[in-house]
Amino acid sequence: MTFKLLENLNKKIIFPLLVLASPLVKADWFALNMTRGITDISNEVFELHMLIFWICVVIGVLVFGVMFYSMWAHTKKKNPVPAKFHENHKLEIAWTIIPFLILIAMAVPASKTLVKIYDDEAGDINIQVTGYQWKWQYRYLEDGVSFFANLSTDLDEIYNLVPKGENYLQEVDEMVVIPAGKKVRFLITANDVIHSWWMPAFAIKQDAIPGFVNTAWTVVDQPGIYRGKCTELCGKNHGFMPIVVKVVEQAEYDEWVFNKKQEAIKLAELTTKEWSTAELNERGEGIYEVNCVACHQTEGQGIAGIFPALAGSEIALNNKEKHIEILMEGVQGAAMNSFDYLSEVELAAVITYTRQAWGNAENGDGEIVIPKDIVDYKEPKI
C-alpha cells in the first residue's frame, strides 16, 4: 500500500535528514509521532492515525503545490495581464464531490474501529477507577483489592532542588496490576470534579465524571509497565496525578492479589491496637502529605479565599466531634469532600496530626483521636 511506502520514506529519509539537520541530537527530538500501541485496538487506532495523516499530507501537497506554483509563475512581473476566467461548474462540482468521497473513505474504517471499541461485554477482571483531586482510586470488583495511587515524584524534583528522575511526573506509589491476556474492564467515575483516565498504550481515554460510570476495556498480551495521565483539567494538581499500569503474567497477578489481601488484614488489625499520640502523629503526617497538603498546605495555612487554614482553626483547636464529622461527611458546596474511604487508623492519625501540629496542641485542647472514635462515629445512630 502507498501508505506503507510513505511510512518507509518517512523512516528512511525524512528522519535521518532531521538527525543531520539537528545539531542537538537527543532522543527526545524524535518524540514526533504517536507511539504505536501494544493492543490490537491501539494498533488499529495508530493505523487510522497514520492513514488520515498521510491523506492530509497528500491534500496539503496538492493544494499548496498549485498555490505555490501560482505565487511563483503568476506574479505581476511574469504575468502582467491577469486572466479573466471565473466560475467553472465542472471544476466546482469536482472539488465538492472528490473531497466528499475521500471523507467517506476515511470515515468508514474509523466507524468500524469505533464499533469494536464500543463492545461492552463484561471483562474477566473489572476494576472501578475513581478520580479524586488529585489521585486515582482502584477497586478490583472480583478480587476485593482496593487502593489509591498517588504521584510519587518528590516535591524537591518538581521545584528543581534535586535532579529529576527518569520517570519524573510519571511514577506513582502504587501501580495498577493486571494480568496479561485477560480482558480487563475499567469502570471509570469520579468523586469530585471531572477527570479523564488516559492510557495511550491501550488507546483508552475516558472521562471520569462524578455521578456517572463510563467503561473501557483492554486485552494486553505484552507484560510491562505502561504510563498514562489525567487529561481533563481538574484543578491545581491536574498535571500531577499520573497513571501507571503494570501488566504481569497470571501467576504473578494471583500472588499480588494474595499479598494485597494480607496487607488489608494487617491494616484492619491496627484498629484495635493501643495507639500513643506520637505514633498517631507520625502516621498522620504521612497521610496528611498525601491527602491534605495540596489544599491545606505544608504548614496548615491553607490558601486564602479557597482552602481554609487548619493551623489555628477553631475546629482543629477545640472541636473534636466537628473535626471528625467534616472528614467523614465533607463540607456541602465546598471543595472539601468526605474522606470516609480512608481506614479508621488513617483517619484517626490524620485528625490527631492536624490537632497537634503547627502549635494547634498548645493553642487548643490538644485532644487526640483514636481509631475507636472513628468506629464509634460509624456506628448507626439511633
Binding site: 527526545d28 492515525h49 498555490m67 498535571g239
Partner: protein
C-alpha cells in the same frame, strides 16, 4: 431613508467633537470601529502577556516561575481575553468601519446602541481582570469552565466571571443585531444581496450565529450562578443534575463561536487575494454558499468536543460524520482562493503576505481538525497539545493574521497614510516565523502524549517545549513592532490615494483617503 439623509445633510461637513467626549458620546461608525480596534489590541497585548507567562513556565520541566494555581488562572484568562476581548471585538471593529462603507450606507442602523455595545465592554474586562486581585484568585477552570470545577470547586471570583460573561454577551448580541439591521435595511440602491462584498456576507452570517448562540452561553453561566448561589443542581450529580449537560450547552454555543471567529476572516482574505491577484474572485456565489453551509453545519457538530465523555456509539458516529462534512465547504473556500490566484497578476504587499499565510496555515489547522474528527484517533489526540496546536493554527495565523491583514489593507483608507511597507514585511516575517516555531512543535508534543493545561511535564517533552517557548517570545515581542507601525501610520507617512491599491474594488475605495467623517450621506450610484 431619504428623510434621514436630508436631516444629516446639514452637518455633513462637521468633523468630530473635540476631546474625550468625542469618544464617549460618539455614534459615528468610524469612531466606534476605531474604539473597538484599539480595545481589542489592548486586550491582545494583555492576553499575550499571559501567554508569555505560560510559555515561560513551560520553557523547562519543573515549576520555576509560577505556582500551578496561578498557572491555571493564566490559561483561563488567556483564553477568555483572546476570544472575547481580542478576536471578537476586532472583527466587530472592522465591521463598524467597513460594512457601512461597503454597502454605501451613511452609518450603522442603530448608532446609539452601537455606542452602548462598545462602552460596556471595558467594564466587562475590568471586572474579569480585577478577579486576579480577589481572595482565592481569578477563575482557574479553563476558558471552557466545565462544571463542577467551575461551580462547587471554583474560587469565589467565579461570580464576577459570570457577570462579566453576561456583559460580553450583551455587547456581542447588540453588535450583531446592529450589523444585521444595517445590512438588511441600509444597502444603497442596487446593492442586492448577491452583490454584497464577501466581507459583508461573512459578517451577516456571523451576526446571525452570534444572535443564535450568545443567549445559550448566557443560559449556561446563569445555570452555574444558580448552582453556586441558589441551591439548584443543574450540573451537580449529587443533586440529580448532570455535569455532562454543561458540556452540551457550552459546546452548542462553543462550536458556532469557533466559526464566529473565522467567518469574517474568510471575507477579509477573499478581498485581499482578489485585490493583489488583480483578478476577479473565482466563485463568488459558491463562496457565499460555502459560508452558509459552514454556519448551518456548525449547529450539529458540537459533541465532537466531547468524544471522551461516554456518548453512545450512535452519537459518536453521527458527530464524526457531521464534523467531517464541514471539510467539504471549507475545502471549497480554499480551492476558490487558489483558483483566484491562478493566472492572476500577483504582488506581495504586506496584507497579501498575511492573507497567503492565512490560506496555508489555516488549511494546516483545518487538516489537523479533520484528523481530530476521527473518533478512535481522537481518543489519543483529545486534550493533548495536538488540540492546542490545532486551534492555535486556526486562531492565530487564522483569525489573528486575517485581522492584521485587514489592518494593513484598510489602514491607508482609515488614516489617509500608507504604512511603512518595509516594516510591515518585517512584522510579517517575524510573526510568520514566530507562529510556526511556537505551534508546529506542539503537534509533536501532543502526539508524543503531553496533555494540555499542564503546568509541568515529563522529561521527554522538554526539547520541543523549549523550542515552542522561544517561538512564542519571538511572536509576542514582534507584536510591539505592529503597535509601532500602526502608530507611525496614524501620525503620518506617504499620503494614500482614494484607490490605494491598484486592484482594489468596492465602494470603500471610491471615497477619499482618509475616509471623511461622514460618507455616503447620499447613496452612491451603483452600475
Amino acid at each position: 431613508m431619504s428623510a434621514v439623509i436630508e436631516n444629516h445633510h446639514e452637518d455633513h461637513h462637521h468633523g468630530p467633537a473635540k476631546g474625550i467626549t468625542r469618544w464617549l458620546y460618539t455614534t459615528n461608525h468610524k469612531d466606534i470601529g476605531t474604539l473597538y480596534l484599539w480595545f481589542s489590541f489592548a486586550m491582545f497585548l494583555i492576553g499575550g502577556a499571559m501567554a508569555m507567562v505560560i510559555r515561560a513556565e513551560l520553557f523547562q520541566p519543573g515549576m520555576q516561575i509560577v505556582e500551578p494555581e496561578f498557572y491555571n488562572q493564566m490559561i483561563t484568562l488567556h483564553g477568555l481575553i483572546m476570544i472575547f476581548g481580542g478576536v471578537m471585538p476586532a472583527f466587530v471593529g472592522l465591521a463598524n468601519w467597513l460594512v457601512p462603507m461597503m454597502i454605501g450606507a451613511p452609518d450603522m442602523a442603530l448608532p446609539r446602541m452601537n455606542n452602548l455595545s462598545f462602552w460596556i465592554l471595558p467594564f466587562a474586562f475590568f471586572i474579569l481582570l480585577s478577579s486576579l486581585f480577589m481572595e482565592g484568585g481569578a477563575p482557574n477552570f479553563g476558558w471552557t469552565f466545565y462544571a463542577p470545577l467551575s461551580t462547587t470547586y471554583a474560587p469565589p471570583s467565579v461570580t464576577f466571571f459570570i457577570f462579566s460573561v453576561h456583559i460580553m454577551g450583551a455587547s456581542s448580541i447588540m453588535g450583531a443585531i446592529n450589523v444585521v439591521v444595517t445590512i438588511m435595511n441600509m444597502r444603497a440602491p442596487g446593492v442586492g444581496l448577491m452583490k454584497m462584498p464577501l466581507f459583508v456576507w461573512s459578517w451577516l452570517i456571523t451576526a446571525y450565529l452570534l444572535i443564535a448562540v450568545m443567549p445559550v452561553l448566557a443560559g449556561a453561566v446563569t445555570m452555574m450562578l444558580m448552582d453556586i448561589h441558589f441551591g439548584t443542581s443543574f450540573f451537580n450529580a449529587a443533586g440529580g443534575g448532570d455535569p455532562v449537560l454543561f458540556q452540551h450547552i457550552f459546546w452548542f454555543f462553543g462550536h458556532p463561536e469557533v466559526y464566529i471567529m473565522i467567518l469574517p476572516a474568510f471575507g477579509i482574505v477573499s478581498h485581499i487575494i482578489e485585490t493583489f491577484s488583480r483578478k476577479q474572485l473565482f466563485g463568488y456565489s459558491s463562496m457565499v454558499w460555502a459560508m452558509l453551509s459552514i454556519a448551518i453545519l456548525s449547529f450539529v457538530v458540537w459533541a465532537h468536543h466531547m468524544f471522551t465523555v461516554g456518548l453512545p456509539l450512535a452519537a459518536e458516529i453521527f458527530f464524526m460524520w457531521a464534523t467531517m462534512l464541514i471539510a467539504v465547504p471549507t475545502g471549497v473556500k480554499v480551492f476558490n482562493w487558489v483558483a483566484t490566484m491562478f493566472r492572476g497578476s500577483i504582488t506581495f504587499e504586506t496584507p497579501m503576505l498575511f492573507a497567503l499565510a492565512f490560506v496555508v496555515l489555516f488549511t494546516i489547522g483545518g487538516l489537523s481538525g479533520l484528523m481530530l474528527a476521527i473518533v478512535p484517533a481522537d481518543f489519543q489526540y483529545h486534550d493533548t497539545y495536538f488540540v492546542v496546536a490545532h486551534f492555535h493554527y486556526v486562531l492565530v495565523p487564522g483569525a489573528i493574521f486575517s485581522i492584521m491583514a485587514a489592518v494593513y489593507y484598510w489602514i491607508p483608507k482609515w488614516t489617509g497614510n500608507m504604512y511603512d511597507e518595509r516594516l510591515g514585511k518585517l512584522h510579517f516575517w517575524l510573526s510568520f516565523t514566530g507562529v510556526n516555531v511556537t505551534f508546529f512543535p506542539q503537534h509533536f508534543i501532543g502526539l508524543a502524549g503531553m496533555p494540555r493545561r499542564y503546568p509541568d511535564y515529563a522529561l521527554q517533552f522538554a526539547d520541543w517545549n523549549m523550542v515552542s517557548s522561544v517561538g512564542a517570545f519571538l511572536f509576542g515581542f514582534s507584536q510591539l513592532l505592529f503597535l509601532f507601525i500602526v502608530l507611525k501610520t496614524v501620525m503620518g507617512g506617504k499620503k494614500a490615494t482614494a484607490q490605494v491599491w491598484e486592484g482594489a474594488k468596492g465602494l470603500e475605495w471610491s471615497v477619499a483617503s482618509p475616509a471623511p467623517y461622514h460618507t455616503f450621506s447620499t447613496p452612491p450610484k451603483i452600475d
